[in-house]
Amino acid sequence: MTQTLIHTRDVSKVFGAGDDRVVALEGISLEIEAGEIVSLLGASGCGKSTFLTILAGLLDPTAGIVRVEGAHPRPRREVGLMFQRSLLFPWRTVAENVLLPAEIMDLPRQEMRERAEDLLALVGLAGWGRRYPSELSGGMQQRVALARVLLPDPDILLLDEPFGALDEMTRESLDLELARIAQLTGKTVVLVTHSVYEAVMVSDRVFVFTSRPGRVAGIVDVPFPRPRELSASGTAEFADRVSQVRQFMETSL
C-alpha cells in the first residue's frame, strides 16, 4: 500500500563559482512514502532549506534526479510550502490571507470560503477570520499560515522550520497539532528543523544532515504509533531515539 511520493537520487547543489564556490548539497538520495512525516534535521546552514526549496520546484539542483509525485518538481496545487515566518499580508484579514491560494489558483469561491472557515476551526482559530494579522500572537499567526497552506488541499506539505521562531511551549503544542492534522487529512509532511526533540516527537523518520557540504549522515526510524502524546517524550524508547539522532550528528561534525 505504500507509495513513494518523493524520490531523489544524487542531488547536489552548488552556489557560486571559483573561490566563492559553495557546495550546499551533495549526493542526497532519499525516498519518502505517502502519508509519512519525515524530518530533515541539521545545524543552520546545512542545506536542508535549500533541499526543501528544490522539492518545492523553486530551485533547480545542480545535478541529480528529483521526482515529486513522479514528475520534475514545479510549483503546483499538490505541494504546499510553509516558512518560519508566517508571511501573512497585513492588509488582508485572517480569512483573506487563508484564501490567498484560492485567488491565485482560481479555485471555486464559495466552496473555498467555507473551507477556509473549516480550516480556521481546525487550527483552533474559529471566529478570528475578520481580524487582522497584527491582532494575533506569533503562534496564532503560524496557525493561520498552516490553514493557508492547507486550503488548496495539497498532498505534500513542505515545512521550513514552521514553528522555529516560537517559544518552546507554543512550539510543542503546535508540533503535536500539526501531526494530528497531517494524520487526519492524510498529508505527507517534510519538516525541516534544527530541534532534535521536535524531529523525534513528530516524525516517522528523521534524516540527519551534515554541514558543508550537506549530506545525509543517517536515518533514524521512530516507530511509535501516532497520534502521540507529550508524555511519549518521557519514555526510554524516546530517549533512545534521541541519542541515536545525536550520535549521527556528532559523527557528522
Binding site: 523553486l58 510549483p75 496545487r77 510550502l81 516558512f83 499580508f89 491565485i104 489558483m105 488548496p152
Partner: protein, 279 residues
C-alpha cells in the same frame, strides 16, 4: 486596571480625574499659549521698531488685509487659477511618477540604464526650469502645470521604485509556491507592500506641486496667487502679501489633510502612520 490612564512620560498610573483631564488637554492648551506668545512677540517686535513695518506689519493689519482679500471678487479668480494648476500638475505628476517608478522598480534593466539620469535629475534644483517652461509654454496655465509636474513627480518615482524593490524575497517565494504569475505577485504583493511608501511620496509631491505652480507664477504669469503675491509685493502692500502667504499655507494644509485622510483609509495597516498622527 485598563481604565486607568498611564502617563507616557513617567509610566505612573494617574488616579485623580483632575490630573487625567490635565493630561488630555495640556497639548491643545499649550499650543494656544504658544500661539498667543508668538502674537505677543510679533506685536512687540513691530511696535518697538525692531522689525520694520514694511517687512512685517502688526498682526491686526495682516488680519485686516486677510479679511479684505477674502471680500474681493478678483481674488477668487486668482485662487481658482492656482488651484487648477496645482491639482492638474499634481495629478499628472502622480500618474507619471507612479508609472515610471513602477517600471524602474520592476525591471532591473530599465533601472540600470536610467540610473545616471535619475541621479542627475535628482540633483538638479527643478526651479531653474521655470524660465525654460515659460518660454516654451507661455504665460498661461500650461507652463505652471508643467512646472508643478516637473517638481512633484520625482519623489513619487523614487518612493514607488524603492517600495517595490523592498518586497520580502521570502514572500515572493511563497507567492511562487502558490503558482502565482508575475502579474499576481505585482498586484497582490508588491504594489500593496509599496503602498505606505507610495503614500509618503504622494504627500511630498503634493507640497511640491504647490511650490512648482507658485514659482512658475512668480517667474511669469498674468494670474494666480503667486502672481497676486508678487504684484502686492511690488506695490509694498505688505499686509496683503502676508494675507496671501497665509492663504497659501492654508491651501497646503488643507490638501495635506485630505491626502492624510485618504492614507488612513487606504493604508490602514501601516505602522508608519502612527508616527505621523501627532500633527
Amino acid at each position: 486596571m485598563s481604565t486607568e490612564m498611564i502617563d507616557r512620560d513617567t509610566g505612573t498610573e494617574l488616579e485623580s480625574t483632575s490630573i487625567r483631564r490635565w493630561v488630555r488637554w495640556r497639548g491643545p492648551i499649550g499650543a494656544l499659549v504658544l500661539f498667543a506668545l508668538i502674537l505677543g512677540v510679533w506685536t512687540y517686535a513691530v511696535e518697538s521698531g525692531a522689525v520694520h513695518r514694511v517687512i512685517l506689519p502688526p498682526p491686526g493689519e495682516v488680519l485686516e488685509a486677510f479679511i479684505a482679500t477674502l471680500g474681493e471678487g478678483f481674488f477668487y479668480g486668482h485662487l481658482w487659477v492656482t488651484l487648477q494648476e496645482v491639482l492638474l500638475g499634481f495629478a499628472i505628476g502622480v500618474i507619471l511618477g507612479f508609472s515610471l517608478g513602477a517600471l524602474l522598480g520592476t525591471s532591473a534593466l530599465t533601472r540600470e540604464i536610467s540610473l545616471p539620469y535619475i541621479v542627475a535629475f535628482q540633483g538638479l534644483p527643478k526651479i531653474v526650469l521655470a524660465p525654460v517652461f515659460i518660454t516654451a509654454f507661455g504665460f498661461g496655465m500650461t507652463s505652471k502645470v508643467m512646472m508643478a509636474v516637473a517638481i512633484s513627480f520625482f519623489p513619487l518615482l523614487i518612493n514607488t521604485m524603492s517600495g517595490l524593490m523592498t518586497v520580502d524575497p521570502e514572500a515572493i517565494k511563497l507567492m511562487q509556491s502558490l503558482t502565482a504569475s508575475k502579474r499576481d505577485i505585482l498586484l497582490k504583493l508588491s504594489v500593496m507592500h509599496a503602498l505606505p511608501s507610495i503614500f509618503a511620496g504622494v504627500k511630498t509631491s503634493l507640497t511640491l506641486a504647490l511650490v512648482g505652480a507658485i514659482v512658475g507664477e512668480f517667474v511669469g504669469a498674468r494670474s494666480g496667487l503667486g502672481f497676486l503675491l508678487a504684484a502686492y509685493s511690488y506695490q509694498l502692500k505688505v499686509g496683503r502679501v502676508w494675507a496671501i502667504t497665509i492663504i497659501l499655507a492654508l491651501i497646503g494644509i488643507l490638501l495635506y489633510v485630505a491626502i492624510e485622510y485618504a492614507e488612513r483609509k487606504l493604508v490602514f495597516w501601516s505602522s508608519k502612520r502612527e508616527a505621523q498622527v501627532a500633527m
